[in-house]
Amino acid sequence: MTSPKLLEVKNLRVEFPTRRGTLVAVDDVSLEIAAGEVLGVVGESGAGKSMTGAAIIGLLEPPGRIASGEIRLEGRRIDNLPYHEMRRIRGRQIGAIFQDPLTSLNPLYKVGDQLIETIQTHLPLTHAQARDRAVKLLEDVGIPSAAERITHYPHQFSGGMRQRVVIALALAAEPKLIIADEPTTALDVSIQAQIIQLLRRLCREHGTAVMLVTHDMGVIAETADRVAVMYAGRIAEIGPVQDVIKRPHHPYTVGLMGAIPAMGHKAERLTQIDGSMPRLNAIPKGCAFNPRCPKVFDRCRVERPDPMPAGNSNAACWLVAKEPAHV
C-alpha cells in the first residue's frame, strides 16, 4: 500500500432515472479521506451531500444508481461489488450513523441484543465475549451503568443516549471509516456538544476516519480537518477547514459564511444569497450557482468549472482560474 488514502472517490455521478428524465443528484464528485481524518461535507438541503454518503456505503435507494465514477476503499474498488460482498464491508469497514437515532435502532430488540448481533456478524466472538464487548462499547460512549442498560429497549433511552447507542453500534466492528449523516441535527444544543466531543474522542482513540455530513457549519468548524462545500450535486469548494471558513474562494462559500448569524458582532443585516438552490430538474447551464452569484460573468453561464487550486483549497469557480478564458 503506497497510498495513505483510506477512501478515494473519483468522478462519482449518482443518477435517478424518472419518467420525466434523468435527475443527477451527485455530479462528478471527487474526494479522498486519509486514515483517521475527519472530512466535513456541508451544504444545504438537496446539495447531494447525503446522497454522496449513501453511495459510498452502498445504500442508495433504488432507482438511484451510481452512473459513473469509482469508489475505492484502501485501493479496492467497492462501488461495483455484489450485494453480499458489500454487506460484509458495511459495518465491518464502513460504519454509519444517521440523523434520527430512533429510526436507526430496532424498537423491538434490546439495545444489547442489537449490539451483540452486529458484533457477532462481523467478528469471530462467542456470545459471552460479544456481550462483554457490547458493555465495553456502551461504557466507551458514556452510557452510565452500561451492564444494566444493555437489557433496555431503545424507547427507554433519551435522544442523546440513543445517539450514543447508535455510535456504539457504528463502532462495534472497529470500522476504518464512519459515515455520519447529520448525527447531531435531531439533538438539543447541549446534547449536540456532548455528541460531537464524543465522536471526536472516539475517532482519535480508535484512529477512525469520519465523513461528517451536516448542514451546520459550526459543527464542521469544531470537528473536521477538511471540509467539502457542496452545491447542486457538485463540490463547490474543498480544503482545510480553517482556509475554507476564513478565506473562502467560491462566492457560494462566501455567501454561506455571511448568512450564519455570528455571535459577538451584531450586524443589522445578514448577508443573504438571493434565490434558492435549483431543483434537480432545472440545474442551470454552466456553473450551477451562476443565477445567484454576485460575481457572475459570461464564462460562468456557458462553461462548467471543475475544482481548481485556490490557495490551500480547491474551488470550482472561474474567478480563481489561472489561465485566461479560452473561448
Binding site: 444545504e44 444544543v189 448569524p261 451584531k266 443573504q272
Partner: protein
C-alpha cells in the same frame, strides 16, 4: 417604568394532564401524572421590540407562545395586552379586536399551509374571516400588495403551496400573518426548518418588516445565534421556568445563570476551530418528574443544599433578572470574557 408594556405576562402557568386512562390507573394503581409545561413565567414586551425565548426542547417555550395567542388557556396567571386582561378564554372572547392585532407564524411552512388552497386564498383568509375588505377586487389587490411586501410576485397568488420552496412558503406564512394588519407577531421557530442562506433571507425580511410596520415580536427559538441577531431582550427557559432574562447585550456578554452559561458554551463557533469545549454534563430531566428545588441543580456545577431544596426566586439584576441561589449568595465565578477582540 412610566409607559405600560404592550404585553405583560404574570405568573403564567399551564399544566397538562398526561395520565393514563381511568381504568388503567385503577388496575395498575397509578396516580395522575401532570406535566407543568409552563410554571410561573413573568415577562413583558414593549412596543416595537423583539423579545426572544430560548431553551432546549421541552422547556415550554412553544407553550408560552400558544398561551399568548390563545391556542391554549392558561391554568393560572394573567396575560395583559395593553392593560386589558386576556388570560382566560372568556375574557379574551370579549375583546376580538385584540385577537385581531396578534398573529402567529409557525415553524413548519410545509404543515402550516393548506396544500389544497391557492396561495391567494391562504393569504386572503384573515381578510375574509374578519371581513376587513368586502369586494373581490379589493381583496385581490391587497393580497398582491401583501405578497409583494414579502418579496413574492402578486402573480404567485394563483399557485399552490407545493410550487414553492421552504423559504418561499415561510414568506407566504408571513404574508398571511400580516394580512390582518397585526401589531404583535408570535413567531414560533420561524427559521428552524430552513437552510442557512434562506434563514438569512427570512430574518432580514422580518427585521425589515418590523421597521416598516412597527411590529412587536415574540420570537421563539432554540438557536442562540439567531436569537442574538434578532432580539432586543432575551429570556432563557428551563423546564417551564424563566431562569434568566436580560437585554441581549447583557445576556450574551455577562450571562449569570449557570444554565445560560452552559448554553452559550455549547454553541459551536466558527472561530473556535479545533478547540475543545468545556464538557457539558447531563440532560434535561423529564418534565413529568422534575427535580425538587431549582430544576437545574442536577446539572449545575454550583449546586448546593439550598438549590436542591428551595426554588429560586427571580432576582432583579442590572439589565434583567435571574433566578439562581448562587447569584443571590454571590458565589458565582466570573464569566470568562471572550478573548476575541
Amino acid at each position: 417604568m412610566s409607559k405600560t408594556p404592550m404585553l405583560s405576562v404574570t405568573n403564567l402557568k399551564r399544566v397538562f394532564d398526561v395520565s393514563a386512562p381511568w381504568l388503567n390507573r385503577m388496575l395498575e394503581g397509578k396516580g395522575r401524572s401532570i406535566v407543568r409545561a409552563v410554571d410561573g413565567v413573568n415577562f413583558s414586551i414593549d412596543k416595537g421590540e423583539t423579545f426572544s425565548l430560548v431553551g432546549e426542547s421541552g422547556c415550554g417555550k412553544s407553550t408560552v407562545a400558544r398561551l399568548i395567542v390563545g391556542l391554549y388557556e392558561p391554568s393560572d396567571g394573567s396575560i395583559n395586552f395593553e392593560g386589558v386582561e386576556i388570560g382566560q378564554a372568556a375574557t379574551r372572547a370579549k375583546h376580538p379586536e385584540i385577537q385581531g392585532r396578534m398573529q402567529m407564524i409557525f415553524q413548519d411552512p410545509y404543515a402550516s399551509l393548506n396544500p389544497r388552497w391557492r396561495v391567494g386564498d391562504i393569504v386572503a383568509e384573515p381578510l375574509r374571516f374578519r371581513r376587513l375588505l368586502k369586494s373581490r377586487a379589493e381583496i385581490q389587490t391587497r393580497v398582491g400588495e401583501l405578497l409583494a411586501q414579502v418579496g413574492l410576485s402578486p402573480l404567485d397568488a394563483r399557485k399552490y403551496p407545493h410550487e414553492f420552496s421552504g423559504g418561499q412558503r415561510q414568506r407566504i406564512s408571513i404574508a398571511r400573518a400580516l394580512a390582518g394588519e397585526p401589531e404583535f407577531l408570535v413567531c414560533d421557530e420561524p427559521t428552524s426548518a430552513l437552510d442557512v442562506s434562506v434563514q438569512a433571507q427570512i430574518l432580514n425580511l422580518m427585521k425589515e418588516l418590523q421597521r416598516k410596520l412597527n411590529l412587536t415580536y415574540l420570537f421563539i427559538s432554540h438557536n442562540l445565534a439567531v436569537v442574538y441577531h434578532v432580539s432586543d431582550k432575551v429570556g432563557v427557559m428551563y423546564l417551564g421556568r424563566l431562569v434568566e432574562w436580560a437585554d441581549t447585550q447583557t445576556l450574551f456578554e455577562r450571562p449569570l445563570h449557570p444554565y445560560t452559561r452552559m448554553l452559550l458554551d455549547a454553541i459551536p463557533d466558527l472561530d473556535m476551530t479545533g478547540r475543545a469545549r468545556t464538557p457539558v454534563a447531563g440532560e434535561v430531566p423529564s418534565p413529568l418528574n422534575p427535580p425538587p428545588g431549582c430544576s437545574f441543580h442536577p446539572r449545575c456545577p454550583l449546586a448546593n443544599e439550598r438549590c436542591r431544596r428551595e426554588v429560586p426566586k427571580a432576582l432583579p439584576v442590572e439589565g434583567g433578572a435571574v433566578a439562581c441561589h448562587a447569584v443571590e449568595e454571590n458565589r458565582l465565578p466570573p464569566w470568562k470574557t471572550q478573548a476575541a477582540a
